[in-house]
Amino acid sequence: MGAAELSILAKQKQTEQPLLAVRGLTKRYGRRIGCAEVSFDLFAGEVLGIVGESGSGKSTLLSCLAGHLAPDAGTVVFDTADGPRDTVRMAEAERRRLARTDWAFVHQNPRDGLRMGVSAGGNVGERLMAVGARHYGQIRAQAVDWLGRVEIAADRMDDRPSAFSGGMQQRLQIARNLVTGPRLVFMDEPTGGLDVSVQARLLDLMRGLVREMGLSAIIVTHDLAVVRLLADRLMVMQGGQVVEQGLTDQVLDDPQHAYTQLLVSSVLQV
């Protein structure tokens, strides 16, 4: 895509309401800064990668964005069905409703995002039932369909996730989150903790889903290969601050900030 096309795209986007508009988001832990003055827009169909080392503030930022952590300052305006709303100041009931309808959250550890005592089919069906699905046959049919999309065979749907490998558990967690067609997916190190070969398969699968569904997502990772493959745009964090942001290829191929240069070069050495 040429620069001219990009600027046309940028102009189009200015007239369109962002799906998520973040302004001045700040979280402190006592004197220590979690994240400071983070601002960005995410448009529908975009995947934003947030990279940085551990302690850079990227996980704190994600927790604040998803409503798991209350920020000290700033706004997180989500374009709800009833128009743009600041989710930070929203009543908890409403935020939780958002979390099981328009939003989804994929945890690094599948155990945090799955019900280990419930079958794979029940795990996928839970969100459907949470929004009122009351037809067993239809819930099951949708669960089978989604398990298929994440390459879990239908004959495993009545097995509990504890009988699954780590990679399968993570694919199940993704299916469980995407089954209701969320408009925004938060992902926290979705490939972390998996073997390299398993990571590659998961990434491939995620890329397929992102393209197929036109997903909007915010992915936090320390793994530049993940964002290279999935993210349209990239935000680089260091010490709680955003030090650089831009189109993924631009940032990775021509990093401007010294810290980004360091990150990129260290990945090249691997």
Partner: protein, 292 residues
């Protein structure tokens, strides 16, 4: 008669007032679990201390008390609770459902329809219907507050996935007045329809868990289900062998060493009443002749 070492109905007036406040709150918010400070009772928790405290807080000297366990008035548990209140409150007792003003029960709702003015007190072991899948108390309270009940259907989904049908046959979850999901205590699901629109006041007491909840008279209570797996109260395909009742809940009783068995009403008062009225089941003999 009354043992003077105790206040009327064992509990002191202060404690009874505290329990009555919890009951009133429960009546005001049907199906909502009200915390209360459960007291030590002179019996083990498994013996229905929650129900006993609720009964103690409701009893007045004019009451006529009936106590049943699995439908029967003569089990050890029922007998000891009945004796406890005879001793500590000196109230009249009865086995006749229609004659009782307060009925304390474990595991059953009487077959004979209840009437206005009666109080049915249930002994509850685990009041939280969501605990099966969500052990965190803070989270289940939040789920009730925000009406996040999808998890309840996950439990039923798991039932069907595993057994081909909703296999839950006791403590079958219900929704009260379209708002709170409630555990009806371990009554058979056969009894669930009796929970709804009852003329009697229904009170639920969990001693160890320190919760009281209530269904005021004529409250709508709906058993949870799926559109394609509707709630089925299910009944054994038998009539009572003693009284011939076709629509009562039956216990299977082994009657000899050769594996012979018979089906009899679990509600002993109901069964006796029918036999006294002349009904005779397949293995029964008319009461007048001194049959079993």
């Amino acid at each position: 008669m009354t043992d003077q070492a105790y206040n009327f109905a064992y509990l002191d007036e202060q404690t009874k007032r505290m329990i009555r406040r919890a009951i009133l709150k429960g009546v005001a918010v049907p199906g909502y679990q009200v915390p209360f400070a459960s007291r030590e009772m002179p019996m083990p928790y498994g013996w229905g201390t929650g129900g006993v405290q609720v009964t103690a807080a409701c009893l007045v000297p004019e009451d006529r008390l009936k106590v049943i366990d699995q439908g029967a008035d003569d089990t050890t548990n029922a007998v000891s609770i009945r004796k406890f209140f005879q001793r500590t409150a000196g109230v009249a007792v009865t086995e006749a459902t229609t004659a009782a003003s307060i009925i304390q029960t474990r595991h059953r709702i009487p077959e004979t329809p209840l009437h206005e003015g009666q109080i049915l007190v249930y002994q509850v072991p685990i009041p939280e219907p969501l605990r099966f899948l969500e052990p965190r108390e803070t989270e289940t309270r939040k789920m009730h507050e925000l009406e996040e009940y999808g998890l309840m259907h996950v439990k039923l989904y798991e039932d069907i996935a595993r057994h081909g049908t909703i296999a839950t046959s006791y403590a079958y979850p219900v929704k009260v007045e379209g708002r709170y999901v409630m555990d009806p205590s371990p009554i058979p699901k056969f009894d669930n329809p009796k929970l709804s629109d009852s003329p009697a006041l229904q009170l639920f007491g969990a001693g160890r868990e320190q919760r009281i909840y209530a269904l005021p008279p004529y409250t709508q209570v709906v058993s949870l289900d799926f559109d394609d797996h509707p709630f089925d109260p299910s009944k054994a395909a038998h009539d009572c062998d003693l009284c011939g009742a076709a629509a009562s809940y039956l216990d299977e009783v082994i009657i000899d060493d050769q594996g012979g068995r018979m089906f009899v009403c679990s509600d002993t008062d109901f069964c006796r009443g029918r036999r006294e009225a002349g009904h005779v089941g397949a293995l029964g003999v008319p009461l007048a002749e001194g049959g079993m």
